[in-house]
Amino acid sequence: MKTALSIVLIVLGINLVSAQSTSNRGLEIAKLAEQADLGFGSSIVELKMTLKNKNGQLSERYLSTKTLELTKDGDKSLIVFNSPKDVKGTATLTFTHKVGSDDQWLYLPSIKRIKRISSNNKSGPFVGSEFAYEDLSSQEVEKYSYKFIDEKGSFLRVEQDPVDPKSGYTKRLVTYNKDKGYRIEKVEFYDRKNALLKTLTYSEYKLYKNKFWRAGSFNMVNHQTHKETLLQFSDYDFEQNLREADFTEVALKRAGK
């Protein structure tokens, strides 16, 4: 009831105090989601990316991802391409930062070269897919400002506005499931003109170690181009106890060969 009232008040744009409270509630939900996932340590997962163009033609690529959880700063991740074969071994190392731009290195296996790359290109597509770089980077709470929208059953909807002006979005509408560890069920992306651009749906969730929800499938649909990208994940491996030494330039070269 209280919530419903505050929505009405925002819609009418009358009450600043309740605007404040919707922003607090939104932030609170994002923090609860972050907290629910605290302590996973590190994970390894294989994934298949299927790109579908508007004529339904499919193209596949295989990747593997290692992630290291850090609490004082953003997570570290290492992504390696296993197919198509001409780019096999191409790999990226990313240090996400809670504040400021991420640090990123690219490894090119044909000439064994590591190149530090700019993380400026947030809105560009990741390897021709419907996922932008910013969709796949570690989702730190500090990267958005928040607005609570509504609550329907166990679903909570929160508007997230990117802090970084280089983002390709004006807002993301995120649906959390409060009964399932605040896991994300759906994200709707609005472009710079505030038109609905993409919808990302998470499904085939699995609960690991009785605490961590991981979706087995991400489906991103672009409403403007009618292209789709599906990510299908293998089982997550949380038992490898990866360390900082597994996320260095030396490790990047080793992973890419």
């Binding site: 064994k112 700019s118 290109n121 809105s123 560009g124 360390r243």
Partner: protein, 402 residues
């Protein structure tokens, strides 16, 4: 030389066999075999400058790769070979690009065997990169390398960066185009007619050290190499034949990149000391990328680099006081299509080299690559480059991956 290579391969086959035996018991041993077949056609449209040089070069190459990994990927044996058949006999060659055992534990990593290592940040010239010999018959840009026998030890610290030590027990000689090949001097250089300053010749035991660190926007590398130079000097013997001569050198290198928003600021510089010559060389420049211009992933990068070499006209790279301007266009599409344009201009004459490289994928396992280089108004003063003035070429490469 061949005998030694066979011996090295034998030792490795034995080593890899015993390692594989020992670790077969442990689970999670993974093997991977990859094969690339490549058809290539090079066409030189100008009439040859020197006698015997051909215009058209159809060619085939095979690149098999094999990796066995165990111990969660912390241990592996990696093999990669290269075979090419070409109309130019010197370009018909076999090389073991890589054949090494690797072990990583905590914050150190050890590699033993034939391996490729790359250092540096610049695009138009690779000054700092010195561990591997250039496979000079393979590509014009010098990015193809021969496998280098080494023991490499890397030690990573979280506060002070990465320290690397290289022990390099054997020197690989650069191969030059043969009599019917293009991009050569008036007399073809025989690969086996070489001189060394060191009495130990190719068996001189060489060393290298490198420190690499990153602090915020800065990536910095400092390196030192002591041993047989990778770049030969050319000397004339009593009969007037030109032959390659490898001096013993000390080379200190610095590479620096500052990554700030869409800007990459780059510097590479070397100081090389040898008995017959000391010199300084550098390349400095920037790269700026306009990303996702059309909202569809189109990236256009602009590149500008200044090149300096104290050796002047005798610099083998012919990049003594030049400016490189280029653009890299990446479509970020399903086919990974990209195009790289560039012009290298000599600032003292009108000599120019234009280049275009374009590539894309077809289907899931085919790629095509087009390369063109145009030598324009090459000045007679250019001691090295003037030999290539009629060697503008077009190269088409089609690869199939298995």
């Amino acid at each position: 030389m061949k005998k030694h290579l066979y011996l090295a391969i034998l030792i490795f086959v034995f080593m890899s066999h015993s390692f594989a035996q020992e670790h077969k018991k442990k689970r999670d041993v993974s093997h991977e075999f990859e094969l690339e077949l490549e058809g290539e056609y090079r066409y030189y449209w100008d009439k040859a400058k020197f006698q015997g040089q051909k215009d058209q070069f159809p060619s085939l190459a095979i690149k098999p790769e094999y990796t066995i990994e165990w111990n969660k990927g912390y241990e592996s044996i990696n093999m990669s070979a290269f075979f090419r058949i070409d109309r130019d006999d010197e370009r018909t060659h076999i090389d073991v690009r890589e054949f090494y055992y690797q072990k990583a534990k905590n914050n150190w990593e050890l590699s033993l065997g034939l391996k490729k290592v790359y250092w540096g940040v610049a695009e138009s010239n690779h000054l700092v990169d010195i561990i591997n010999q250039t496979d000079a018959v393979e590509s014009f840009d010098g990015e193809e390398k021969l496998g280098q026998p080494m023991l490499q030890f890397s030690w990573n610290t979280s506060k002070l960066g990465t320290f690397e030590f290289f022990y390099l027990p054997y020197h690989r000689k650069r191969t030059f185009p043969g009599t019917n090949g293009r991009l050569r001097f008036e007399t073809a250089i025989d690969k086996d007619e070489v001189g060394y300053e060191s009495h130990a010749k190719e068996w001189r035991q060489d060393l290298a050290l490198r420190w690499k660190h990153y602090i915020n926007a800065f990536d910095i590398g400092l390196s030192h190499f002591y041993g047989n130079g990778r770049e030969p000097a050319f000397v004339f013997d009593n009969t007037g034949n030109m032959k390659a001569f490898y001096p013993v050198i000390n080379q200190t290198g610095l590479d620096l990149q500052i990554t700030h928003n869409a800007f990459l600021w780059k510097l590479e510089s070397i100081y090389r000391q040898a008995d017959h010559q000391d010199f300084y060389a550098m390349v400095a420049g920037l790269e700026y990328t306009f990303s996702n211009i059309d909202g569809n992933g189109l990236d256009i990068g602009l590149l500008g680099e200044y090149l300096y070499d104290e050796r002047g006209e005798f610099a083998l790279t012919a990049l003594q006081n030049d400016l490189f301007i280029g653009s890299r266009i990446a479509f970020n599409d399903i086919q990974d299509a990209s195009i790289l344009f560039g012009i290298i201009s000599d600032l003292e004459s009108n000599s120019r080299i234009f280049s275009v490289e374009a590539s894309r994928r077809f289907g899931t396992s085919w790629t095509a690559e087009l390369e063109a280089r145009f030598f324009s108004n090459i000045s007679k003063e250019e001691q090295i480059l003037s030999n290539f003035e009629k060697d503008s070429f077009l190269r088409l490469k089609v690869s199939k991956y298995f």
